[in-house]
């Protein structure tokens, strides 16, 4: 009988290496849960984009902060709450996040701008709040069949 609810909180160092280390720890937790590999992969991809954004923008690539990642795994989907003490999101709001167009010459192909589009495409709830000097990003990912 598999457990069908798993919760865990991870603390990450706010650097690119810290995010990599954190994602590896989170993936081990996900792989050991009741989720299938497709859901684990989607979660790692979405977490990578959200966490890289915190490192690059909230902490401006300075390795002085910490990031907290809380996961609540349920049958219907996974809730993710990411907290950090970095700078507020520009305009106190989430980027729109449309996929960049690909119908262009090779030398004009986009090399970035995928992150928020990836996050938005996989979440059915997404909000950002700035409270007491902290950033709080909430995401919910429904578990879709592969």
């Amino acid at each position: 009988m598999h457990e069908t609810a798993n919760d865990s909180v991870f603390s990450l160092i706010a650097s690119q290496e810290g995010v990599r280390d954190g994602l590896l720890r989170i993936r081990r937790f996900l792989d050991a849960s009741f989720l299938d590999q497709n859901a684990c992969g989607i979660l790692e991809i979405v977490l990578a984009e959200a966490l890289n954004n915190v490192v690059e923008h909230a902490y401006d690539m300075c390795e002085t902060g910490a990031i907290s990642v809380a996961l609540q795994l349920r049958i219907g989907g996974t809730s993710i709450d990411i907290l950090d003490n970095g700078a507020a999101m520009a305009g106190n709001t989430l980027p729109e996040g449309r996929l960049p167009p690909l119908d262009c010459a090779v030398h004009n192909l986009p090399e970035g701008g995928f992150g928020w589009a990836l996050i938005r495409s996989q979440t059915d709830a997404l909000w950002y709040r700035r409270t007491k000097g902290r950033n709080h990003l909430h995401m919910h990912l429904p578990h879709r069949p592969a």
Binding site: Q16, E17, V19, R20, L23, Q37, N38, G41, I42, E44, I45, A48, E49, N52, V55, E56, L99, L102, V106, H107, L109, P110, E111, G112, F114, G115, A117, L118, S121, Q122
Partner: protein, 112 residues
């Protein structure tokens, strides 16, 4: 970022000897690719069989490497893990690259 290059028939196969291409190594990957594609080969294949995960920075670095190729040259991808394939599919970048499921398919066929 450790890359190795081998020739298989008409293809110059560049193998990524790393488990991840992510934000932490995207710049090193681009620099290493620049060194590998600086030769006379015209058809490169990026072998990703050891790469279990990429993020959008890694994806951008692969696109950047493809854009470094001179005119008349091309770069395909080979052996995507399920999570790497997801990133290409979800960003529609799978429509930009030819993707080979195996390296075996690239080997020259026996004559006769």
């Amino acid at each position: 970022m450790n890359l190795t290059k081998t020739q298989t028939g008409q293809y110059a196969i560049i193998t990524v000897n790393a488990g991840r291409i992510d934000a932490a190594v995207a710049i090193q990957f681009k620099d290493a690719m620049r060194a590998q594609i600086d030769d006379d080969a015209t058809h490169f294949v990026l072998n990703l069989e050891q790469v279990m995960f990429i993020d959008s920075s890694g994806l951008g670095a692969i696109v950047a490497a493809m854009k470094m190729l001179g005119p008349g040259k091309r770069m395909d991808l080979a052996v995507l893990s399920p999570d790497v394939e997801k990133v290409f599919r979800l960003t529609r970048m799978d429509s930009i690259f030819q993707i080979h499921d195996t390296l075996h398919a690239l080997e020259p066929r026996q004559a006769g």
